[in-house]
C-alpha cells in the first residue's frame, strides 16, 4: 500500500493536478475566509466552513478523476493488478494519497484561524471540530470520486460523473422535502451529506455524524474494490 501511496502523491505533483487542486482550494477558502470573517472583523469561521462544502463538490472530482481511470487507460492497471498486493491495498493506497493532498488543503483553514488569533479570540474547539468535519466530508467524497473513477477509462467522464454523484448526495436532503411518503423522506434526510455536515459548522460535534461519513467512505471504497473485482470476471 505504501508503494502506491507514495507514487500517487508524486503523481499528483508531477501531473499538476495536485497544484491545481490546492491552488483552487486555497483560493476558494481564502475568498470565503475574507468575505465571511475578515470583512466583519470576526473570528467566527463557520461561514467559510459551510461555504467550502460547495467548493468541494467541484474540487474533489478533480482530485479523484484520474485515480483509477488513468491506470486503466494507460494499461498500468495490469502492473498493479498482477502485483502481489490485494485490491484493498491498491484502493486504500489511492484513497489515502488523495486524502493527504486534501488534508494539506484542510490544514490551510487552520492556518487562517491561527492568523485570526492574532487579532481576536478564536474558539479553537469549534475550529478543530469544523476542520475534522471538513476532513470527514472530504474522505467520503473522495471515496465516491474514486468509485466513479473505477467505472470509466475517461478522466473527463470520471470528473463529471463524480460531480454528478456528489451533487445527488448533496441534494438528496432537498429531494426528501418534496417526497410525500414520510418514511422514504426520512431515509433521504438521514442520508443527506449537507444536513450531516451542517452541525459541524454550527459548532456541534456529533459522533453519529462522524460515524456517518466514515461509514460512507468505507462503503464507497468497498464498492470500488467490488467493481475492480467484477471487472476481472466480465
Amino acid at each position: 500500500m505504501t508503494a502506491i501511496l507514495k507514487r500517487e502523491i508524486r503523481a499528483y505533483f508531477d501531473s499538476l493536478i495536485g497544484y491545481i487542486f490546492l491552488t483552487a482550494f486555497f483560493a476558494g477558502s481564502g475568498v470565503l475566509f475574507s468575505v465571511s470573517s475578515l470583512q466583519y472583523g470576526s473570528t467566527d469561521m463557520s461561514g467559510m466552513y459551510s461555504g467550502l462544502f460547495y467548493i468541494l463538490l467541484v474540487l474533489i472530482p478533480i482530485l479523484t478523476m484520474r485515480t483509477l481511470s488513468e491506470e486503466k487507460r494507460q494499461k498500468t492497471d495490469q502492473l498493479l493488478l498482477t502485483a502481489p498486493i490485494s485490491l484493498s491495498a491498491l484502493v486504500l493506497g489511492k484513497f489515502f494519497a488523495a486524502l493527504i493532498i486534501y488534508g494539506i488543503g484542510v490544514c490551510m483553514t487552520v492556518v487562517y484561524a491561527v492568523v485570526a488569533s492574532f487579532f481576536g479570540v478564536v474558539s479553537w474547539l469549534t475550529v478543530l471540530g469544523n476542520a475534522v468535519g471538513l476532513m470527514l466530508l472530504g474522505a467520503a467524497y473522495i471515496a465516491v470520486g474514486i468509485m466513479v473513477s473505477s467505472l470509466t477509462e475517461n478522466q473527463v467522464i470520471a470528473a463529471i460523473g463524480g460531480f454528478a454523484a456528489m451533487l445527488v448526495l448533496f441534494l438528496i436532503g432537498s429531494i426528501a422535502q418534496i417526497i410525500p411518503v414520510d418514511w422514504i423522506a426520512s431515509i433521504f434526510t438521514e442520508l443527506s451529506f449537507s444536513s450531516r455536515y451542517a452541525p459541524f459548522t454550527y459548532g456541534v460535534f456529533d459522533f453519529s455524524n462522524v460515524l456517518f461519513f466514515i461509514s460512507a467512505a468505507i462503503i464507497f471504497l468497498f464498492l470500488t474494490i467490488r467493481i475492480l473485482e467484477r471487472r476481472r470476471w466480465s
Binding site: Q74, L81, A83, P84, R232
Partner: protein, 334 residues
C-alpha cells in the same frame, strides 16, 4: 512450474479461451504461437491474475492463482502486450516503484543495477520513460518483469516494435533467462518461437491445436511442395515448362539472380514431390537447376494445416484430381 487445466474464458457468448490445458516445467521456455485474437493474451492475463477464468484452474509453482493469488503473483514476472509504464516517471523511479510494489527484499540498488545491465537500459536510467524510444520502453517493461527475480516469466509478444538487432538481443536474453526461470512467451511469428522456445503450443480460436517440441513441430510442418528454385534458362519458357509438370499450381519468376538465372517460386499441390520431375524436364531442355530449396510454411499455412486437419488433405486431393483430368483433356486434344 506452470500448470493449466481446462482453462475457459468467455466474454458474453464469445469463447476467448476454450478449454486449454498444458504444463511448463522449470527451466523450460514455452512458446505460445497463434494469430491475433487466438486467445494468447487472454490466457496470459488469466495466468497472471489480471483476469479471472470462467472455469478451469491455473497453478503457478503449486499456488492456485484464484485461491492464493498473492503467493502465486509473487512467483510471476509479467510483461503484458503493452508495457505498463508510468510515462511521467524516470526509469529509476519506475523501477523503485515496482521494487516496492512487489515487496522485494533483495538489496535494492545492486539488484536493480543488475537488471538494468542485463536488459541494457543502464544508459537511460535517469531519463523520463515518456522520452524513450519504443525499443527502450519495451526493455523497461522487461526489466520491470525481472524485478524481484521471480521464478516464472510471462512475456506477451516481447519483441514487438523492436529493430532486428534488438530482437536478437532480447531473444538471446530470454534464452539466457530460460536457464533458471520458467518462461512463457507468446508470438505470432513462427521463426521467433522456433528460435527461442524449447516447446511450442499453437493456439487458434481459443483451442490448442498443437503442443510439441520446436524441432518436431517444424519437421512436421516443412513444406516440400513449396519450392524456391534457381534455374538457368530463358524465363518465359521455363515458366511454361514448369507449369506443365503435374501437380504444379503456380510458378512465379521472382528475381534475376545472375545473368540469365532467375529464381522461381514454385508451388505444387500439397503432398506431391515434383523435384525429380522438375529435374528431368529441365535436363531434357538442357536447362540447369543451380539451387533448390523448400520454402518455409507461412503461419497461415500452419494454421490451415493444423486446424483443418483431414479436410485440407481432402480439399487438396480434389484439386489434384481436377488438375489431372485437365491434363488428360489437354493431352487428348493435342
Amino acid at each position: 512450474m506452470i500448470e493449466v487445466k481446462n482453462l475457459v474464458k468467455s466474454y458474453g457468448d464469445k469463447l476467448a479461451v476454450a478449454g486449454i490445458s498444458f504444463k511448463a516445467q522449470d527451466g523450460e521456455i514455452l512458446g505460445f504461437l497463434g494469430p491475433n485474437g487466438a486467445g494468447k493474451s487472454t490466457t496470459m492475463n488469466i495466468l497472471t491474475g489480471y483476469l479471472s477464468s470462467t472455469s478451469g484452474e491455473a497453478y503457478i509453482n503449486g499456488h492456485d492463482i484464484l485461491e492464493d493469488p498473492i503467493a502465486a503473483k509473487k512467483e510471476i514476472g509479467y510483461l503484458p502486450e503493452f508495457p505498463p509504464l508510468y510515462l511521467d516517471m524516470t526509469v529509476k523511479e519506475y523501477l523503485y516503484f515496482v521494487y516496492e510494489l512487489r515487496g522485494c527484499t533483495l538489496p535494492r540498488n545492486t539488484h536493480l543495477k543488475e537488471i538494468c545491465e542485463l536488459v541494457k537500459i543502464d544508459n537511460v536510467y535517469d531519463r523520463r520513460i515518456n522520452n524513450l524510444s519504443k525499443g527502450y520502453k519495451q526493455r523497461v517493461g522487461l526489466a520491470q518483469a525481472l524485478v524481484g527475480n521471480p521464478n516464472v516469466l510471462i512475456l506477451d509478444e516481447p519483441t514487438v516494435g523492436l529493430d532486428p538487432k534488438q530482437i536478437i538481443e532480447i531473444r538471446t536474453l530470454i534464452k539466457k533467462l530460460g536457464k533458471n526461470h520458467t518462461v512463457i512467451l507468446s508470438s505470432h511469428i513462427l521463426s521467433e518461437v522456433q528460435a527461442v522456445c524449447d516447446r511450442i503450443v499453437v493456439i487458434n480460436q481459443g483451442k490448442i491445436v498443437a503442443d510439441d517440441t520446436a524441432d518436431n513441430l517444424s519437421r512436421e510442418l516443412t513444406a516440400d511442395h513449396k519450392l524456391i528454385a534457381r534455374i538457368d534458362g530463358p524465363k518465359d519458357e521455363v515458366i511454361k515448362l514448369v507449369q506443365t509438370i503435374p501437380g504444379v499450381v503456380s510458378v512465379v519468376a521472382d528475381l534475376q539472380r545472375e545473368r540469365g538465372v532467375w529464381e522461381y517460386n514454385i508451388e505444387a499441390i500439397e503432398g506431391t514431390d515434383i523435384r525429380r520431375e522438375l529435374n528431368r524436364r529441365l535436363m531434357s531442355r538442357n536447362w540447369y537447376i543451380l539451387g533448390l530449396r523448400s520454402s518455409e510454411l507461412s503461419l497461415e499455412d500452419i494454421f490451415l494445416k493444423l486446424t483443418m486437419g483431414e479436410s485440407v488433405t481432402e480439399f487438396l486431393a480434389d484439386k489434384a484430381d481436377d488438375l489431372e483430368e485437365r491434363y488428360k483433356e489437354e493431352g487428348d486434344n493435342s
